[in-house]
């Protein structure tokens, strides 16, 4: 409506500009009577269109500026650096854990991580047949003492560990752990791969991501260490993995990244010990399910055959069928009547 009234107003202005625009009005002689008027109005129309376009673009840009941008509650430093996506072999759909790596990773956990981090949900019995033999696991369990049931006098005594016991924690409780670690609680690692965004990638990046020294301008609080992958970048745990920190029994060179990879895979196992069986079972389910699905498709087509192949012909009352191409019983029935 606005545009139409504007055009009308330009037409009114037209006669005034007729003399001035007479030079440019020479291109079409057949409509010479209104060329000047047209030239003037086309200039106004172009300006109007350009203005409307500019207004539209401007309003979209303004709207995007107001509502279109991401709103982050935290700064990038507080979010932490996104971990690199590593090509883990054991996370592929058809691959189990590499149990030799699990064994190495458990060695790294026992010799390095276990001094601060607990692994409360892993009993010795679950190590058997996955990481070590029965005899090794029993020997490992007997190295630690556990409380007995109360005896006849109600006293609780100590006994060597059994396969059914869980791995001992380095601290008696969370408060003791905090007190020993400058107020920071080393989290339990049993489910850590499931508990952290990024899973294996995050843990590997965190373990290997400590820079030699914090970058210029980074604020690191007293007692904390800089790690770009840790949300907030200030982490109480210092870098622990250095080359040749442990000596692997199978002769694998114990580089920092090798130890980090092994312990990450081990922690993935501790968080998801059922993964090997789960994947195998999944493939079986898909195989059986595929056969059953194909069968069900065949049965459906079999049952629907009479419905899908029949032909319905309408015969109007009092006249023969309109479809002469099909010598159908309906036509004959009609003739009989």
């Amino acid at each position: 409506m606005l545009a139409r009234s504007c055009l009308r107003s330009t037409r009114l202005v037209g006669p005034v500009a007729r003399n001035a625009a007479s030079k440019t009005a020479s291109r079409s002689a057949s409509t010479s009577s209104s060329t000047a008027e047209e030239a003037a109005s086309s200039w106004k129309t172009t300006a109007l269109g350009s203005g409307a376009t500019a207004f539209a673009i401007g309003s979209v840009a303004w709207y995007y500026h107001l509502y279109g941008q991401n709103v982050d509650a935290m700064t990038p430093a507080e979010e932490g650096l996104h971990p690199t996506a590593y090509p883990w072999e054991h996370t592929k759909w058809s691959k189990t854990f590499d149990h030799q790596a699990l064994r190495r990773g458990f060695q790294v956990y026992r010799e390095v991580c276990a001094s601060c981090h607990s692994l409360k949900r892993i009993p010795y019995r679950s190590l058997v047949g996955n990481i070590m033999t029965v005899d090794e696991a029993k020997a490992l369990a007997e190295e630690n003492e556990y409380d007995t049931e109360p005896n006849n006098e109600g006293e609780i005594e100590k006994r060597p560990g059994k396969l059914s016991d869980y791995l001992p924690s380095p601290y008696k409780n969370d408060e003791a752990a905090r007190a020993a670690n400058n107020g920071a609680l080393p989290p339990d690692l049993s489910l850590m791969v499931k508990a952290r965004h990024g899973g294996c990638d995050y843990i590997f990046s965190l373990l290997t991501g400590y820079p030699e020294e914090p970058p210029a301008g980074a604020v690191v609080q007293e007692g904390l260490n800089f790690n770009p992958y840790f949300p907030g970048t200030g982490i109480a745990m210092a870098r622990v993995l250095y080359d040749d920190l442990v000596e692997y029994e199978d002769g694998t060179p114990a580089t920092t990244s090798q130890m980090a990879k092994d312990v990450t895979e081990f922690l993935h196992w501790s968080a998801e010990p059922e993964m090997d069986d789960r994947k195998k079972m999944g493939w079986k389910v898909m195989a059986i399910g595929g056969v059953l699905f194909a069968l069900s498709v065949w049965v459906k087509r079999y049952k629907w055959t009479p419905l899908k192949t029949r032909k319905i012909i309408y015969t109007p009352p009092g006249g023969p069928a309109k479809n002469p191409s099909s010598p159908r019983p309906s036509v004959k029935m009609n003739e009989r009547q």
């Binding site: 691959k95 854990f97 033999t133 079986k284 059986i288």
Partner: protein
């Protein structure tokens, strides 16, 4: 073909009890075949990764001691 199918019919499906036995026996056999076959494929894909592939190193070491 007709002789084979009719003899099959007479052998397995004439009596209901025999047919039921056939169904149960073939289900058992097919399950065994499927499980052992899929296990074989799975172990082939994951050769050297599973505990049973590396177990011998540690069991032998324990026996020697």
């Amino acid at each position: 073909m007709a002789g084979l199918s009719s003899s099959l019919y007479n052998l397995f499906f004439r009596k209901n009890t025999v047919m039921l036995g056939t169904v149960f026996a073939s289900a058992f056999a097919i399950q065994m075949a499927f499980d052992s076959g899929s296990e074989k494929i799975w172990d082939g894909i994951n050769k050297g990764r599973q505990w049973k592939d590396i177990k011998h190193r540690y069991v032998q070491a324990a026996e020697e001691e």
